[in-house]
Symmetry: C2
Subunit: 251 residues, 2 copies
Amino acid sequence: MTYCIAVSVKEGLVLTSDSRTNAGIDNVSVHCKMHVIATRDDRKIVLLSAGNLATTQAVLDQLRRDIKDGAETNLNTVHYLSEAAEYLGHVSLDKQRRHVNSGQNGFFPAATFLLAGQIGAEPHGAYLVYPEGNYITTSEQTPYLQIGENKYGKPVLDRILRIDTPLEEAALCCLISMDSTMRSNVSVGPPVDILIYHKDSLMLDEYYRFQEADDYLIQLRRIWQEKLSEGFAALPQLNKQAATTFPVAEH
Amino acid sequence: MTYCIAVSVKEGLVLTSDSRTNAGIDNVSVHCKMHVIATRDDRKIVLLSAGNLATTQAVLDQLRRDIKDGAETNLNTVHYLSEAAEYLGHVSLDKQRRHVNSGQNGFFPAATFLLAGQIGAEPHGAYLVYPEGNYITTSEQTPYLQIGENKYGKPVLDRILRIDTPLEEAALCCLISMDSTMRSNVSVGPPVDILIYHKDSLMLDEYYRFQEADDYLIQLRRIWQEKLSEGFAALPQLNKQAATTFPVAEH
């Protein structure tokens, strides 16, 4: 499994990914799921990947070859992020189709991607590209996208992230969301990659990688736990006067 | 969908359920999912149900008829909660089997139950009964069970609940877990039922039902939101000195 988040707020982007892949629970390995493909001075485009590892690698290889070979459409020639998402969807679909009829039982070539970055003077943004090749982007009300094991880590994103959340706070929110997910699903695991992109900078210079025993991550987890406990202690108690006997007859 | 939690801690039990059922997104109704079946003075046994509504109703009806008809095994004659769970699994499987071969496409008769309570001097406890009829119980390390839409609300349970968590705090934790789930999945909805059972009391006298616009629930949600935001403000910031440029070559 995998868990990746792309946050797109006013100040820029926060991209977060775990690094655990598995082919069955008895075959677990570490693969970085954050990939920078287009790094020309006028653009930065980053991909996060989930799903079949062979498909994601085939897609990334094709994207890189298209750039090197000067294909008509590639991530260095597109003018818009939405164009990049469309192109990525096209490549992904093509790679999946080559293996879908291989006749192997239980084989799923599907892969899902997050594509985020900025091209020239166009606004920064993030896109989720489905295995079917179509895509969605964020909105003012929901300034984030997730792929992989999305449920455990969603409530904290919903409660904290707003379009005007500062980048640093959004990054902490993603780390807490990732921590919640890693606790609940062993197929999501460290190292955790986090990349903060300040809008209009066209620089990828704020990147962090956290190993399992990282002091900062351990401290973050401990303090978050303390703050949650304090929060619970401050919640209004149930009003015992409002309690009733369970109405057996009604049920 | 549905979301129900059964917490079994040293002080007793906390049972929580939502009330939304649906047969497709265009057919939503309100059904209480908390049912008290055995209420004799020497025992209290409560069920929470998820899954096919026809199956859960057929099972509950059978359990009640078995009591009225004085069947050899019924919830008033069993001596142990594990025996009750085994019997419930047996009845559930029987009801499902009657409809599984009806030939309707997309028909799933499966139902899952939480069974909790106390019988005489036996310890209180909670059991999860699978659609297959088998069951599991809680442990010292994991003092809760969930059925239905379990993922959104799990992290807060994992972070807060311990075997010695007081009942009142466990109840607040369940309400927050339920609130997180209702925000993320519209097929989980109010009213929210919560029943607190103090061990060895053999009384079901602390029951609360919260409607959607309940003042207390709204206050709880608001204060929790504030406490989370304060918690984020208190987290240690990322160490900017540790940031690097994204290592393109490595990927």
